[in-house]
């Protein structure tokens, strides 16, 4: 561990990290992203005080139109995500409440891992468990003026999930019928492997703030364009103060918009360069030859 060696290591780290950081930052900046929070805006003024009453009342229309202005040109494919915040998909009670066997092989394999939603009215539920039961059920449509923008809702889930995790001959059974606790319904005639919203939802998020893919827009969006988002605001996040947002974003080799890597690299790189300069300065100011007797005796004197 000679000074030269250590100073070089830090210098090299700095020299590589700063450019990488710049590239990452550039990639992140090239992503055009629209984040639109709608959970409050979609509640009629009369219910602002009591959002729970609104969301639980099935007689009130949940339709809601939001206008969004596109800031930058967005090149297709544009990914449509819904984002939930303060929603604990990673809660232990929640994340464990599923049965992979049942999802793959059907009702016969219903087991206790689904508790507390294993059965309803004495019959097993397919798909069972809290995750499936609380399926997100807001829907989104997009129009440019009066012309609809196509959202491709196919292939939004992992292909491996469709092919190996969710059964082709497993059909929803005894699932909830859309009572107002939240949570979506499932078409009992479509096999689970084709219920892509469910498949996406069931890949539980590890953080309380997460995004899930809703669909892909295969159209470019022009800068300064205004689009209408047609939302059905069914999902109850009001009881626990969860936030719901809609996200439209393009993507790069590094993924979506995330400045963290870029900044982290820049900071680390600069700190390394700083350290190497600092070490070099100290080394010049107080030269301490490696394993040298003179240095040892010097060190001895200084301590006295």
């Amino acid at each position: 561990m000679t000074p030269g060696c250590v100073i070089t290591i830090f210098l090299l780290i700095g020299i590589t990290f700063v450019p990488v950081g710049l590239v990452c930052l550039q990639a992140s900046n090239s992503v055009a992203e629209i984040v639109h929070r709608y959970d409050i805006d979609c509640v009629p003024d009369a219910y602002r005080r009591n959002k729970q009453a609104y969301i639980k009342d099935s007689l009130i229309s949940k339709k809601c139109i939001q206008k969004v202005k596109v800031q930058y040109h967005m090149k297709a494919p544009i990914y449509v995500y819904y984002e939930l915040d303060n929603f604990y998909q990673n809660h232990r009670r929640y994340v464990k409440s599923r049965s992979d066997k049942q999802l793959r092989h059907g009702m016969k394999y219903t087991d206790s891992s689904c508790g507390p939603l294993e059965r309803n009215n004495g019959l097993p539920i397919v798909p069972c468990g809290l995750i499936a039961w609380s399926l997100f059920n807001d829907t989104f449509g997009f129009t440019r003026g009066s012309i609809g923008i196509m959202v491709d809702r196919k292939n939004i889930s992992w292909r491996s999930d469709r092919e190996h995790k969710f059964g082709k001959d497993v059909y929803p059974f005894n699932f909830q019928n859309g009572s107002l606790i939240g949570g979506g319904k499932l078409d009992p005639d479509i096999p689970l492997s084709n219920q892509e919203d469910l498949i996406v939802w069931m890949r539980a998020a590890a953080l309380p703030q997460f995004r899930k893919l809703y669909g892909v827009i295969e159209d470019d969006l022009q800068a300064d364009e205004t689009i209408d988002i047609h939302i059905t605001n069914n999902y109850n996040t009001y009881s626990f103060g969860g936030k719901k947002s809609l996200v439209l974003t393009t993507s790069t080799w590094l993924g979506g918009k995330n400045d963290f890597l870029g900044y982290a690299y820049l900071v680390t790189g600069s700190a390394s360069i700083f350290l190497s300069i600092l070490f070099a300065l100290i080394h010049v100011k107080i030269p301490r030859p490696h394993g040298d007797a003179a240095y040892l005796s010097w060190s001895r004197k200084s301590s006295n």
């Binding site: 561990m1 000679t2 000074p3 250590v6 780290i13 990488v20 990914y79 984002e83 929603f87 604990y88 990673n90 809660h91 232990r92 009670r93 929640y94 994340v95 206790s112 507390p116 939603l117 809290l130 039961w133 992992w158 491996s160 606790i181 939240g182 949570g183 890949r203 998020a205 590890a206 953080l207 309380p208 703030q209 997460f210 995004r211 899930k212 009881s239 626990f240 590094l254 993924g255 979506g256 963290f260 890597l261 982290a264 690299y265 680390t268 700190a271 350290l275 070490f279 107080i286 301490r288 394993g291 040298d292 007797a293 003179a294 040892l296 005796s297 060190s299 001895r300 200084s302 301590s303």
Partner: protein, 1071 residues
Amino acid sequence: MKRFVYVNDESCGESYCDNRVSNTKYTLWNFLPKNLLEQFRRFMNQYFLLIACLQLWSRITPVSPVTTWGPLAIIFIVSASKEAWDDYNRYLSDKKANERKVWVVKDGIRGQIKAQEIHVGNIVWLHENDEIPCDLVLIGTSDPQGICYVETAALDGETDLKTRIIPSICANLSSDQLGKVKGVLECPNPDNDIRRFDANMRLFPPIIDNEKCPLAINNTLLQSCYLRYTEWACGVAIYTGNETKSGMSRGTAEPKLTAADSMIDKLTVAIFVFQIVVVLVLGFAGNIWKDSNGRKHWYLMYPAEGPWYDFLVIPLRFELLCSIMIPISIKVTLDLAKGVYAKFIDCDEQMFDRETSTPAHSANTAISEDLGQVEYILSDKTGTLTENIMIFRRCCINNTQYGDDSGDALKDTRLLNAVSSNEPDVVKFLMVMALCNTVVPIKSNDGAISYKAQSQDEEALVNAASNLNMVLTSKDSSSAEICFNSSKFQYELLDVLEFTSDRKRMSVVVKEGGSGKFLLLSKGADEAIFPRSNPGQQTKTYLEAVEMYSHLGLRTLCLGWRELEEGEYKEWSKKFQEASCSLDNRECKIAEVCHSLEQGINILGVTAIEDRLQDGVPETIKLLRSAGINVWMLTGDKQNTAIQIALLCNLITPESNGQLLSINGKTEDEILRSLERALVIMKTTPERKDLAFVLDGWTLEIILKHSMESFTRLAMLSRTAICCRMTPLQKAQLVGILKTVGYLTLAIGDGGNDVRMIQEANIGVGISGREGLQAARAADYSIGKFKFLKRLILVHGRYSYNRTAFISQYSFYKSLLICFIQILFSFVTGLSGTSLFNSISLMAYNVFYTSLPVMTILFDKDMSETTVLQYPQILLYSQAGRLLNPSTFAGWFGRSLYHALVVFLITVHTNAYEQSNMEEISMVALSGCIWLQAFVVTLDTNSFTYLQVILIWGNFVAFYIINLILSSVPTLQMYTVMWRLCSQPSYWITMALIVTIGMGPVLALRYLRNVYRPSAIDVLQQIEQTNGPTQTSRNVESATRIYLDQLLTDLRRNKGSIHQPLLSDSVASIR
């Protein structure tokens, strides 16, 4: 309590066990329960079992129970199969011994039975070279004198032949009669004393001699010895099976716990407490979150009213989540490591003694670290420091000293002339030399005579006598023949007054063949003989000779003789018979009777025997002392000889630089005053001066009785001590004193008298020497020569300690790392106790990914062996426990916390939003840990070999391969995850970031410390780097040595506060 054995009586044997030997610990049926019970005695195992049981409750377990049951089962199976294998081998060897065929005689008929079928009272017939199947009382041999020879090496490790003799009443039995003889033996209940057997025997009619006849140990043939040089022998079985003396003395030694082990235990307890605190805090917070927040989250469907134990669920979940803080693998890893250290010692070619072809051996594989922490070495002198090859060098006969000029009396022409001119005093002197001993002459086929002796001194004397034309040609139990100047003399051997460590002398009574005179021949230590000398005789010149000889480091013996009146002898002989027959307190009574005869001895002269220092002893002692180890010499020899040897082997420094404080006195008061005086001098003398104290056994006895405390203080202050005239018990007592003060002691010795001390010390080292293997067998380590001790301590001990220090702390580090990540993760899961990692990853992380790379440390050397031996002072670091103590551990603790923060924060920030699914984040965090730990191990590895590179980076590659394979199994949760991650550039960029941010500060701090506040280890490493491992330039060396000396003295002065963090090992921080 007595046992009555009826010879040749079937009914008698029934009440005692048969001769089935069983050394096994288990049977087929009790193996599982007994072994499990034994393993669960360990706290760690209890803890893990509790955790594993808690995991069975699915409500609270964050991961599958397999994560704990799996490793727990592996640990149990590994140690159980080791036990089972050992036990099976014991069973096999028992079986072999039990099914061996032996000849027995029943009612005159000889027959062969299995050894296990022998019953008490049976008469067993043995042939030459047979192993003795059970404890027998000898009743007949092929020898007309009724003696036979046995080799007792398996019992006491002594390789010489021992003579066994038939009891007098059986002397006249013919071999026919032997088969039919009936009688009764009265013997004590089975015990383990292989040197004592106080019994008697009476034969029934038709044998005429119906007197009670005393039996002693030399009438017995003990199990596991061998019959030698005797065509046949037969004996009565008295103890059988596991009740034999060898069976009773088998015992399992208490496992020794090293200082490093107990430190690890302490750290484990600390972590356990920390874990409980974390669990309570998080559990409490979790319950609060649940009540205040959790119920609002409808999708969690918390029931309004939970079961009564609801409040326990979250704390217990955290307990399970945090249970990995105490690494389940640490015990296995350390055991494995210790096994490897022991192998290193066994295979060390530089500790292979070429002269005797003995390799070093570690019988106890568990205590190598202690070698590196030794503070006191207590060494025997004879055979340990010296070669134990006794050579007769000088003598003083009739006030003339021989051998002074040439240093060899055998070449002194004056003596040779005296021999050839039959000078009477010289002849008597030589006769005592040749006769007064227990040496057995063995004539080989070509007529040459070789001597088998229990004591090396006796052998030296007999050999010297034969060189001076006084040849002991043959000897049996009752007669001896010597040949002087080619004329033969017959002597009848009447009695042997044996040597004991209390009497310090031995005598024989003989009847001269020609004249019929009764003679008492004595030899012994000067202080045991002179007081019993003929009052009229001048002993001044002899005393002077003794003084002079011991100044030269020679061992002296005084020889004397006395003519006995026939009547006097007869009377005495009766008393002696009586004393030898007494069943209790026999030894004491015999000593008393002997004492009465050994009076008025005419001193014939003094012999001086040289015992050369072993090769390399002075250098080794110097090295060990400069390594900060205090060396004490404990010897049975006399003070002058001991001091002389101590000077020769650098143990004490001659006057001006050194001072020898003698603690002695004639009365108790004097002794205690001299002790206090020594203590004061010891306290006030500046450190540079070498002080040592010297005392003898008697003084020690008084001091221990009256002033234990002062002595303990003296012992703590004194770097060197010479203790002479020590009994085996006192040697052990001294070890005990040092141990109670908390010092780590190493006892080294070679003879049976060192066994107690060796067993008492933290580390016992035996020299497989000439006094037999007894010490080596009892010891934890056996080496061929004293000089290997330096390698054992400085190289093996030091490396072992360093390695264990790293391995143990690293084990905690990696467990804490993963645990802290889990805890951090729990803050984003509503404190519900979700595990970020899946069960497979957790299990593999502990058992596989992190256990293999750390094994590289087993081959790591922080500096080369040459450097260590060149700068032995460096041992202080391990001696003072500087590499494994609470502060170094705090460093590792901090590092794991920091690394956990780095891994967790970077992972959740780079994999936010759409990439935040459980499987991916968990795998990114796990990879981050693997990357970090690979670099941590690399950074702390000082030497690189291919094996190390392969283990560290091979493990790294294996991690990816295994996870890619696991990611290809559709039924697993992590299906495709790893493939997905590996194809993302952001994953690799994240890993680079984790490593840089994780290791950068570690490297920077290490660098600053290394260069600007270096420890002595750092300095030496730097010197090695600059100058190459072996060539250290002279001037650098001397300057460094001065610096190191000062540094280390300063450190030593601060030994009270020795547990400074490694960071402050610098010069600056000392003041």
